[in-house]
Amino acid sequence: MKFPMLSRVFAELLKALAIAKKDACMYYFQPQSFMMGILFPAAMFFSFSVGRNLPAEVVIPGIMAVTILFSSSSIGPLAVPMERRTKTYERMIVAPISPLSIVFGEICAGIAFGVVIACLPLAIGLIFFGVSAQNLPILIASTVLVAFEFSAMGVMFSAVPTENPANAMMLVNLVRLPLIFVSGIFVTAAEMGVFGWITWLSPLTYGADLFRSAVSGRLYGLIPDVLGVVLFTVIFLALSVYLHERNRTAG
C-alpha cells in the first residue's frame, strides 16, 4: 500500500461515519428528538424576546446559537448511557476502532442534527422577520463549527460512567442552562455590569457572535470568535477522548 497512514485514517473515518449513521437512525432523527430540539429553544425565545422590542437581527442569531447548543449536545448524554445499559456500547469498544473515531462518530451525528434544527429559527427569521443573511458562507461555516463545538460538549458529558441517561443529562443541563444567561444573548455583557467578563468564559458567546456577524455582515470580530469556538471545540474533543478511554477499561 502506497500511503498506509492515509489508508488507516480513511478506514477510521468510514467507521466513524458508520457510528454517526447508526446514531442518526437510532436517536437523532426521531420525532421526539426533533420536538425536544425545537420546543425548548422556542420557549426560551418567547420568554426573553416578547415585549422587549429586541431587533430580529439580534434575536435570531441568539436563538440559532441556543438551538444548536440544545440540539447538538442533547442526544450524546442520552444515547451513550443507554448504550452502556444495553451493552451495545461494548460492541464499539471491542471493535478495532480508535477512541477518537468512536467519539468523532458520535459527534458527527450531533453536528448533522444541530445544523438541521438550526435551519428552523433561521428560516423563521428570514421569512417572518425580514432578517437577511449578509454573509451566507460565514453563516453556513459558523453553523457547522458551532454544532461541532456543542456536539463535542454533549459527547464529553456522555463519558460520565453511568448507565442512567438522567445522570448525564443532569450534568449537561447544569452547564447548559446557565450558559444561556451568561453569553450575551438575552442579557448583554453591558447589562451584566461588573460580571460582564463572565461572557468571555462561555463557549456560547463566540458562537452567538459569529451568527450575529454573519447576519449583519460586520466581520471585525470574526477571528477572535472563530478562535474561541475552535479552542472550546478542541478542549471538549480532547476531554471526550480522554474520559471515554479512561472509562472504557474501568469495568
Binding site: 478506514a11 468510514l14 467507521k15 458508520a18 457510528i19 447508526k22 437512525c25 437510532m26 444495553t86 451493552k87 451495545t88 461494548e90 460492541r91 464499539m92 469498544i93 471491542v94 471493535a95 478495532p96 476502532i97 472504557r248 477499561t249 474501568a250 469495568g251
Partner: protein, 317 residues
Amino acid sequence: MEAIEAENLTRDFGGFRAVDHISFKVSPGEFFGFLGPNGAGKTTTIRMLTGLSMPSEGRAKIMGHDVIHDKFLARECIGVVPDVSNIYDELSAWDNLMFAGKLYGVSRHDRIRRADELLHLFGLGGVKDKKVKGFSKGMKRKVTVAMALIHSPKVLFLDEPTAGLDVQGARTLKDILVRLGEEGTTIFLTTHTLDEANTLCDRVGIIVKGKLAAVEAPERLKRIVRMSRSVEVSLDSMTPRVIDSLASLSGVSSYRKSGDKIRLYTSEPSELSEAILDYARGNGRRIVSITTPGPTLEDTFLAIVNGNSEAVGDDRR
C-alpha cells in the same frame, strides 16, 4: 502460535480479587470451555481477553497479539458474543449486521455476501428487514452471534451463549457452534452448564473463586459425571436412623444431607430409586420427593481438584 494465551491474568476490583493469576493456552481451531459457577470470574476473564477490562496483573495474547499493546491487531482477530444480546432494537437484522461489518472494516461486497450467508444460516433470511425489537429472545441471540461472525473472526468468544434460550434455540445455536469449530474457528465458550461443556468442548477450564482449578479434556469430566450420579430423596421423617438406613442401601457410594433431603451418590440411580421405594413401603414411610439430579458443578470441581471422583460430597463414608 497459540490462538489465546493468558499468563498470570489477574483482575482486582478495589479489595476484591475477581480473577487470580490464571494462565492457560488455547490452540488454533480448539473448542475451549470455560466453566464455573456464577461469580467465579468467567465474565471478568473474557472481558480482559477481549480488551473490555484492563488486567491488574499479567498479560494476554490473541493470535500472538498482545491485547493491550497490539490491541488493534488483537481485536481484528476476535468476535465477541456477550452474555446479553447487545443489538440495536431500532435497526433491522440486516442493518445490525451491516453496522457490525463496517466497524470491522469489512468491504461492502464482502459485508453483503457474508450478512446474507449468516442470516440464512441462522434462519433469519425471511425477517432480515424487520426491526429486531419484535424478535424473540432466541432470534435476538442469533443476530448477536451473526454480528460477531460478520468479519469471519479467527477466535470467537461466547459468554453464556445459550442462557435464556429454549431447548430448540439452544440446540440450533450449539449446532452452529459445532459447525464453526469444524470450520477451524477457535471458540472460547464460558458456561455454567456441564452438559454444554461436555458435548461441545475439546478441553474445559474450570474456574472457581477467580482461580483456575483445572484444565481437562471432557472425557475425564464425563467419567466424573458418570460416577457422580445421585438420587435425592426426602421422606416424611428424616431421623438419624432413617438417614443411616438410606445410606446403607445397596449401591450407595457416599451421601450428603441437605436440609430435609439426603443426596445418595451411586453409579446406578434407577436401581437405587427402586431400593428407596422398597425401603419406604417396607417401613411405612411416605416419600415427599425423589429426584435424580445431575452432579453439581461444585461436585465436579471438588472431584477434579481431589483427583478422585469418589470423593464427592461433604459427608463421606
